[in-house]
């Protein structure tokens, strides 16, 4: 039987080439860059610092705020600057993907702001952003239960495929981004667009989890390179 090869030559369960750099923004308390193929996300963490806007302050924990945005030059057709409905939804699900991992109760009355800029987009920007944000939070020294690691999976023809790239988003039967805490085996983000029986949907989620486990090692390695002498 001929082995299944994807448009870019990858195997079904293969991630795109990964680059993770820690501490890329000198001004930030923590930062990271994550690339998967042509998709590149940069995350910067500021805080814990005094909460802004102040009325959102909470007395017994820190408030995590996430801001996802795409650079105007990140796609073929220029992206209009400023928040869109899409970016606001992604900011929300990103926050909810990170919150389960962060010990927010350690920093009452403060705010932790995470800014995610997508400087180049070629599918999988929300998951690249979550990977970068999670490493940036760790880089900022914020106590966490685990790193959050994220990747999307789908199904092309009969194959469950990991880390959909560019053109694959148009041919996949579904697009399922997953964020995962590997040590706890807990899913912190799950979305799906598509049309698939429940059994197969489960397989797609499992495919994404396998990818998360690979990314987890890369994240830890990148953090060690900066912090362990």
């Amino acid at each position: 039987m001929k082995e299944f090869k994807r448009d870019d030559g990858r195997k079904a369960d293969e991630l795109r080439p990964i680059v993770i750099k820690v501490g890329v923004i000198e001004q930030a308390d923590g930062s990271a860059l994550v690339s998967l193929g042509k998709t590149t996300a940069i995350a910067a963490v500021y805080g814990p610092r005094s909460m802004h806007p102040k009325h959102k302050q909470v007395s017994d924990r820190a408030v995590l705020q996430t801001f996802y945005s795409m650079a105007p030059f990140s796609t073929s057709e220029r992206v209009r600057p400023g928040p869109s409905r899409r970016s606001q939804e992604i900011s929300k699900v990103t926050r909810e993907a990170l919150e389960p991992a962060v010990f927010l109760e350690e920093f009452p009355k403060t705010g932790i702001d995470v800014f995610i800029d997508i400087i180049q987009a070629d599918a999988g920007t929300r998951t690249a952003g979550i990977n970068a944000a999670s490493v940036a939070l760790a880089d900022a020294g914020i106590p966490m239960r685990d790193l959050v690691t994220a990747v999307a999976a789908g199904k092309i023809d009969e194959h469950f495929v990991l880390d959909l790239g560019g053109k694959e988003e148009e041919v996949t039967k579904c697009d399922v981004p997953v964020a995962y805490m590997p040590r706890k085996k807990q899913i912190t983000l799950l979305q799906m667009d598509g049309d698939l029986p429940p059994e197969e949907t489960k397989e797609v989620i499992k495919t994404a989890i396998k990818g998360c486990e690979i990314l987890y090692e890369k994240q830890k390695q990148a953090l060690r390179e900066k912090w362990v002498r």
């Binding site: 899913i187 029986p197 429940p198 989890i209």
Partner: protein, 266 residues
């Protein structure tokens, strides 16, 4: 202060009931509050439906217009779904542009209808690359008593299924809203069901008090053939793979039931 303490006590009470798989209004884990579906409540709209789930009340309205198709889909109709959390519906809703929750709700409902192919969008095209029908579904929350996504999703599909298309005069390029007879070309009935977790157990159809103690939820939209067409996790906590599998089962079963109920009303 007394009120704050009452709220804390109530939250603890609901959590402790949930840990024994019981609920404050004595419902079963998978039991919905009473559902009513009332199509055609807005005469001026092309389609509309009022859905009540317990005290939660939502109206969805369909309006149509003729416009230009998207360049990457030159032979298809255009679908737009929006939601407004009007301040009349809850002391927690504020005036102003749609906030995060309203945007998310509209996008989750949109995904279910779009991805399932519920509307046969190819049949909405009038002239390739030039003219097509645009379908706007607007969701208006009238009273927020919990489980808004399920109510909004049900109202939207009910409104679409009962919508009648206005007439289009190709020569004059005008839409005649007085003459409506043809139905919208509909193929499927996607239904979103939100499964939520309290005290490590899974439940359906939270009321407002239960939503306050909910740690995490998963909205699963299924269509007529049992396929899943959209997923959305919500809330600041996490889920295990086993819980997700269980949520699939629960929402598929309930989705089937609600589709039958929907068929009775259209």
């Amino acid at each position: 202060m007394g009120k704050v303490i009452d709220m804390i006590i109530q939250k603890q009470f609901i959590s402790s009931l949930a840990s024994r798989k019981m609920r404050i209004d004595k419902r079963g884990q998978e039991e919905f509050r009473d559902i009513t579906i009332e199509p055609g409540v807005i005469a001026k709209a092309e389609g509309s439906a009022r859905v009540k789930i317990g005290k939660t009340e939502v109206i969805a309205g369909v309006k149509m217009n003729v416009g230009t198709p998207f360049p990457d889909r030159p032979d298809e109709g255009v679908l737009m779904i929006g939601a407004e959390f009007s301040p009349i519906a809850s002391p927690d809703f504020e005036k102003g542009p749609p906030a995060e929750d309203a945007i998310e709700l509209a996008r989750v409902v949109d995904r279910g209808i779009r991805e399932s192919g519920a509307i046969d969008v190819k049949k909405l095209c009038i002239k390739e690359k030039e003219k097509t029908w645009m379908v706007f579904v607007d969701i208006h929350i009238l009273n927020h008593a919990g489980n808004l996504i399920d109510a909004a999703g049900l109202a939207s599909i009910a409104a679409l299924l009962t919508a009648k298309m206005p007439e289009y005069d190709e020569e004059a390029g005008t839409v005649n809203y007085e003459k409506k007879h043809k139905k919208l070309p509909m193929k499927f009935k996607p239904v979103p069901i939100t499964v939520f977790k309290m005290s490590d157990s899974l439940f359906l159809d939270p009321n407002l008090e239960e939503e306050d103690v909910t740690s995490v939820s998963l909205t699963v939209t299924t269509k007529d053939d049992g396929n899943i067409v959209a997923l959305q996790k919500g809330g600041s906590y996490s889920l295990s793979l086993e819980e997700i599998e269980k949520a699939f089962e629960l929402s598929l079963k309930k989705g089937e039931e609600i589709r039958k109920l929907l068929e009775k009303h259209i």
